[in-house]
Amino acid sequence: MVEQAVAETPGAGVKPDQHGSVERSDAEAVNKKEHRSLYQKRIKIYPKLAKGAFRRWKWVIMAVTLGIYYLTPWIRWDRGPNTPDQAVLIDFPGRRFYFFFIEIWPQEVYYLTGLLILAAIGLFLITSLAGRVWCGYTCPQTVWTDLFIAVEHKIQGDRAARIRLDKAPWGAEKIFRKAATQIVWVIIAIGTGGAWVFYFADAPTLMGDLLAFQAPPVAYITIGVLTFTTYLLGGFAREQVCTYMCPWPRIQGGLLDEESLVIAYNEDRGEPRGARKKDTHPDNLGDCVACNQCVAVCPMGIDIRDGQQLECITCGLCIDACNTVMDKVGLPRNLIEYSTLANVERVRAGEKPRLRLIRPRTIIYSGLIVVVGLIMLFSLITRSDLDLSILRDRNPLFVTLSDGGIRNGYTVKITNKQHNERSFRLVLEGLPESRLSVVGSGADAEALTVGPDSLASYRVFATVPRAALQDSATDIRFRIIDGNGEETINNSVFRGPEQ
């Protein structure tokens, strides 16, 4: 076991290049294959702050994704009286899921399934096109880890300062900086857990209750659990989550092909690497100036020059770091770049690199997305706000009455998804001479009322004279019609004695 808390030599964080202006790091890739055993203590990574296009993108995406997460529960959406006015609300006690203009009942949970299928195939498509962009930019683990590192950076300084601080003996400054970092982390973690519960209750009400310690215990427990996991995963587990806990990096192995975007170090151009005097480019050296900046900025603790690795989340920060150095030493940019494995081979063979976006797998994924999307759209558009279900009594199948008539019992369930009470006329078709009666005082087959946004259940008896019955099983239809003429039908069967 390598007992090494910090993969640095003491006192050394940054040494200026003796020969040029390039900042040189002796950062070691702690997750380098040779260094890493699966069975060792985690070696802490001190990612340096990169500057460049990808870093800017990551800030923007972090702001957008966190913004969506924190603000969504506070968006209001008017649905009329007696309904929640929260745009996105998972209402467990009321058994509804509200999403802007869509209201989903428990029996329609297949919409959520469809959404998950779409999300999964979408992820497959993005991965086969652009590699692990989900991991690098939008995964909550990445976003929160990035946020936690940014806090660290603000309070403790950049990589070198953080390493120095860790090595320094405990004193007032160290205690202050470490404590401040932890406090800000905990605040972020509480905010993360806190925002989650707002998706499950009216946000302003719950906020008031939470602050007044009046909220239900489950809210505090949820916040507590999520606070703990956010703090643990964002502050400490970090890249270990991606490498050891998350199945997605492994699944992606099957989704990527040689035409998918990956981050590639142009070995042919870069090697042999080595330090050089300013503005000189010795013939025996490639373009890599061996400044190790790509390693220093890597949040996963790997060296991209070692080639493709499971740990690489393709965040692009090494590209930023390398380009900064290339600009400084006057060499062409993109020694490390987004490329494809096929393009690396093409360049090697003297061909022009190109992007093949249309490939069998991207066509299949796109096709699946279109099909699933259209099915969901169709069912959403044609979805009725009225539902009729008929449960026929099975025990007894039928009852013989004293006048010889035959009676069947049915449970009629009417779902009214409108936000006003409706009254329905229940009609039985396909059974001549039949008579309908509804169980319960005051219940009338001419006017079955169903409350707003709810389900009503009625026991209904259908009776026919024995002579009118032609068969032991007669196909029948129940039809409900409301005052505006809107109607829906459901089929059932009327049973009688064997003829």
């Binding site: 055993s37 007894p396 009852v399 013989t400 010889g404 169980v439």
Partner: protein, 289 residues
Amino acid sequence: MADHKEIDQVSGVETTGHEWDGIRELNNPLPRWWLWTFYACCIWALAYWIVMPAWPLISSHTEGFLGYSSRAQLAKSVERARDAQSVYLDRIDAASLEQIAADQELLDFALAGGRSAFAVNCSQCHGSGAAGFVGYPNLNDDDWIWGGDLDAISHTIHFGIRSDHDETRFNEMPAYGRDELLTREEIDDVAEYVLSLSNSGSDAAAAARGEVTFAEQCSACHMEDGGGNYELGAPNLRDAIWLYGGDKSAVVESITNSRAGMMPAWTGRLDEATIKKLAIYVHSLGGGE
């Protein structure tokens, strides 16, 4: 093995020295987090032994400091369920059957409770769907022997039929054949007449002869028109429903040997609220008057 270390050439890791088919086991240390989780589990297990019932003894087991038992937990949850129901049960106790039937909330509660009480106590004879069997009345239909309004049903459930309770519903039809009150031929004629009441007879001459005997022997209970009498528990012979079968041999058998089914009295076995719930439930099955 202990004295000399064997190093795997490929990984550079020490091996355990165990080898199977040329595959050597690497002696990698366990991950720290795994090890700590393992220790934590050990401590948890020890604590569990102490505070929870754990070790079997010869005739009992260690109780544990928390005094937990699944039996006590069940009793507690039954208690909780009772408490939750008590608000309804109190109202059921206080209300009359008509009041319960008119109050939708109480009615729903009574129907649900009645359904489960029926399944436990009544379904053995009347069937789980209350459709009965030969000799056991179908409670779904609109034909009643002792009356089908709420109070009559409640009375029947309370005291039973030919039960050992003093207030039981009781009647006794003579065994006309066995006790030689009527001859075979007379019984046959009466049976034809009874069947003709529901238009299922086949011998009009026999029925005409039987009508005279019926007026003499049967009409006191079954009424002159054969329509039956709730007060006496005499079945209606004009309708399409036959408790013991409606073909001629079954009717002849009924006249010859009589019929006397019995139902136990439920008062004293079931509490008042349960009997009320049962009456409401049976009444709701479709034939309640």
